[in-house]
């Protein structure tokens, strides 16, 4: 489906929601209000969200440790995400999972993951079920550049390929795995090349261009949905935020590099596109920003007013009923 104005506005709304939410999460951590750790995806909003927008009812995603954006992309509600960040009973995982483990099967999210590459097997298995049940659906498996150096990546790619499973491996190459630049962790320039050795098609896209992300992911998903087997997408993007809340020094990169990528801000670029193509007016964008800001305030209030999960309930979910 082509990118209608309505869809573009929806996409923009989600991107700005993610940005404002993550900026807020960053502040709440800095202020010592949130506990634990978190991985923000500032700069990667188009890459994650526009890709999710290319899915349809019944499709699934698996996410990584950097999973907030995908959650917004797939349509999870802000207040339940925020409540999980606060570790509250009303959180999407009742406060048991936290920032890295946002999971919501009703919305098609099979989970963030604390283990790099951890989603690869799960995505492949979910695709196996879709094929087995003759469902017309696909799995979009998110992973980072770093994860493509894990053994499971290679095993899962091969399985998906020989079994022709409906899964799209969506590699967000954001330049680094913590402090390790991609050019030092592998001897190829394009991760997409890795697909070839598994007999798999691949494409490369500009992950900071929401419209491209949407259109190209949509056609890849279409190809996979038609039963042609898996595909790999390499989304070239950049992590503006530090790796995690603990990554403050950032001795591994220089400020100039961050500035250069700031100039390619995916949200600014989408705004420019929308204004130029009369998808929206400046006033409309302002209104969206105001609405999202309001919604975010409500989500935080909701979280703060929610109860803590009960210690007595600890054992409740260890085993399924």
């Amino acid at each position: 489906m082509s990118l209608t104005n309505e869809k573009t506005i929806n996409m923009y709304t989600k991107m700005i929601t993610a940005r404002l939410m993550e900026e807020m999460i960053g502040q709440l951590f800095a202020g010592g209000i949130l506990y634990g750790t978190t991985h923000l995806g500032i700069g990667q909003e188009a890459s994650a969200i526009a890709a999710c927008m290319a899915l349809q009812e019944g499709d699934k995603i698996t996410l990584t440790h950097r999973n907030h954006l995908g959650c917004i992309g797939i349509g999870m509600e802000l207040k339940y995400i925020m409540a999980e960040m606060f570790g509250k009973e009303t959180g999407v995982c009742s406060g048991l999972g936290g920032s890295m483990h946002l999971l919501d099967p009703d919305k098609g999210n099979l989970g963030g993951n604390g283990i790099v590459g951890g989603g690869l097997g799960i995505a492949t298995g979910a695709a196996l079920k879709m094929k087995y049940k003759r469902e017309n659906n696909v799995v979009l498996c998110f992973l980072g550049d770093g994860a493509t150096n894990e053994g499971l990546f290679h095993e899962a790619m091969n399985l998906a390929s020989i079994w022709k499973l409906p899964v799209v491996f969506y590699v967000e190459n954001n330049g680094y795995a913590v402090s390790m630049p991609t050019e030092r962790s592998m001897n190829i320039h394009d991760i997409a090349k890795r697909a070839e050795s598994y007999g798999m098609r691949s494409i490369i896209l500009d992950g900071n261009n929401a419209v491209d992300v949407y259109n190209l992911t949509f056609s890849a998903v279409q190809y996979v949905r038609e039963g042609n087997g898996p595909m790999l997408i390499e989304s070239k993007t950049y992590r503006i935020s530090g790796h995690s809340k603990n990554d403050t020094e950032q001795r591994y990169r220089d400020a100039h590099e961050i500035e250069q990528w700031n100039a390619k801000c995916p949200i600014k670029r989408l705004e420019e596109y929308m204004l130029k193509n009369n998808v929206a007016t400046k006033e409309m964008l302002k209104k969206i920003n105001a609405q999202v800001t309001e919604e975010l305030k409500e989500a935080i209030l909701f979280s703060q007013n929610s109860l803590e999960p009960a210690v007595e309930d600890l054992q409740r979910y260890v085993y399924a009923k």
């Binding site: 634990g36 890295m100 283990i115």
Partner: protein, 325 residues
């Protein structure tokens, strides 16, 4: 003596061993300019260069395998696993290769390597970044497993581990990295396989290790006020266990409380309880008691996270219960 932190103690040990022996190398994710996730290797790359402080891609299985091969060939690799939870990705290599090569080759080869595992909860990192997996490692003959509880032990055990000719699983606790303690100015080792009596006592043997040692010491102070005289054994090494120190203590006190953060079922506590039953049964005045992590994954929520592992108050209560028996 000088006062340093647990992570500084580890860093000093690594630095001294690297200076002493050019075969000692470090491998791991983000251990170079980033300094390691818990800053243990901070600035070592500046001192020893990238050839000896090797930043690896995210490839745990290959890192463990590569360390094994290098160790068989004469190097002494020290591997940092960013969080102990990721050792699961190394298990084939550690369990089926590194641990068995000396045996299977009838001693023709040895595997002198160290695998550093930051264990434990208390940082809000949730179920996949908070586990204590030491008992898994103790189930594998051919591995040695140590777990220092303070800077002195951290430094001395690390130096001993680097010099040991076997694969040593070196457990560290995240909440200890900033703990301070005294270490001698001069060189020293802490021998692998030897427990330490942290506090002498007569009425109850508390057998523990790692971060729980600190908690047990606090509990012992509170118990002292109530007239309960506790002996605290810091195991230091979990495999091979220092059976003599444990048994001698229990024979003296007649009561044993074992405390650890790892989940109870199949834990180190079970092994020690069985050992006491086998070797000191007639001396017991009360059943052996285990106080361990609850058999659940570590939850994110802070209250719940605290509730899954023994805290000072729990230890004190357990000791009092045991004294009434």
């Amino acid at each position: 003596m000088k006062e340093i932190t647990y992570k500084e103690a580890l860093r000093e040990a690594l630095s001294e061993e690297m200076t002493r022996d050019e075969n000692v190398i470090l491998m791991g994710e983000d251990i170079g300019i980033y300094g390691g996730n818990f800053q243990v290797t901070q600035d070592l790359v500046l001192k020893f260069g990238e050839e000896r402080v090797i930043d690896t891609p995210l490839s745990e299985a290959a890192i463990a395998g590569c360390a094994t091969g290098a160790a068989m060939s004469g190097l002494r690799p020290v591997v940092e696993v960013m969080f102990s939870d990721f050792v699961t990705l190394m298990m084939d290599n550690l369990v089926n290769q590194a641990a068995k090569l000396s045996f299977m080759s009838a001693g023709k080869v040895s595997v002198p390597m160290v695998v550093r595992l930051p264990m434990g909860c208390g940082t809000g990192a949730a179920a996949q970044h908070s586990q204590s997996l030491e008992a898994w490692m103790c189930h594998v003959p051919g591995l040695k497993v140590v777990f220092p509880s303070n800077p002195y032990e951290a430094k001395g055990l690390m130096k001993a581990a680097v010099r040991d000719n076997n694969p040593v699983i070196f457990c560290e606790h995240k909440l200890l990295y900033d703990a301070v303690g005294n270490v001698p100015q001069e060189e020293y080792l802490v021998q692998i396989g030897q427990a330490n009596i942290m506090k002498k006592g007569t009425q109850l043997s508390v057998i523990t290790y790692g971060y729980s040692v600190q908690k047990c010491l606090q509990a012992a102070m509170q118990l002292r006020v109530k007239g309960v005289d506790v002996e605290i054994i810091d195991l230091r090494t979990l495999l091979p266990l220092d059976e003599k120190t444990i048994i001698d203590s229990v024979k003296k006190t007649g009561r044993a409380l074992i405390v650890h953060e790892a989940v109870k079922t199949g834990g180190i506590g079970a092994e020690i309880a069985a050992l006491i039953a086998e070797k000191a049964f007639p001396y017991l005045k009360a059943p052996v008691m285990r106080l361990a992590g609850k058999d659940v994954p570590v939850p994110f929520n802070k209250n719940l996270e605290q509730a899954v592992v023994p805290q000072v108050a729990d230890i004190k209560k357990a000791a009092e219960r045991l004294m009434r028996k």
